[in-house]
Symmetry: C2
Subunit: 127 residues, 2 copies
């Protein structure tokens, strides 16, 4: 499960885990949280993974509880982050299609991992 074969950048400084104190790559967590830490992002990605490209209102229907403002804002951010693509389908009537980029689609294992975790290791019953 460990990313032994990293391509772009490295997670670990070296192969060995000596006494010499190495730290996590803070930037990696920041990037991850930009996507995974915001309330609607993961839910949007999930819907696009499951059902493929769709329009604004289709998303609004499927992403339970989202308002048009939050959906719009989230989609803009996800676009900026290179996770979703927005394509103009037609002008009259106005129709757009949101889809996942390659970067976005690459989130699939993460989304499923998270869902699996929630399902299999439910909330702590005690508190």
């Amino acid at each position: 499960m460990r990313p032994e074969s990293t391509t772009a950048r490295q997670v670990r400084p070296g192969g060995t885990n000596g006494e010499s104190f190495f730290v996590e790559p803070p930037a990696a967590f920041d990037e991850a949280q930009e996507v995974v830490g915001r309330k609607w992002h993961l839910r949007i990605v999930y819907q696009l993974l499951e059902h493929g490209p769709m329009g604004f209102n289709a998303l609004e229907d499927r992403v339970v509880g989202v308002s048009s403002k939050m959906l719009s804002e989230s989609l803009s951010r996800l676009e900026d982050d290179g996770v979703v693509d927005r394509d103009l389908v037609s002008d009259q009537p106005l129709r757009v299609a949101y889809s996942l980029t390659e970067r976005g689609a690459a989130l699939e294992p993460v989304v499923w991992g998270l869902l699996r975790w929630s399902v299999e290791h439910g909330p702590a019953e005690d508190a």
Copy 2:
């Protein structure tokens, strides 16, 4: 990669994905985000995964940038969420050890998945 064999609860209502519009389980995302959505949680879990149980100050040193206040607050939450355990090691001098619960350790694939994703599908160069 899909959670075909769920034990506790179900992600999908049925086996079939008909026209009849099913939605994601909102609660699952909420739980996930309680852990993954807060700034320090994932970084703390990461350190405990990598280095095993450790004390408060060891964590403070390893989790780059965290203050004692945020670390304390985060650990309390993670304890409440059943992700980390706090064990009193000795009274004089005061020593505690934080470790992952089973639920916490089960986050390993998610943490690695997220890190892999950041590393392999780096930030969008364009914007």
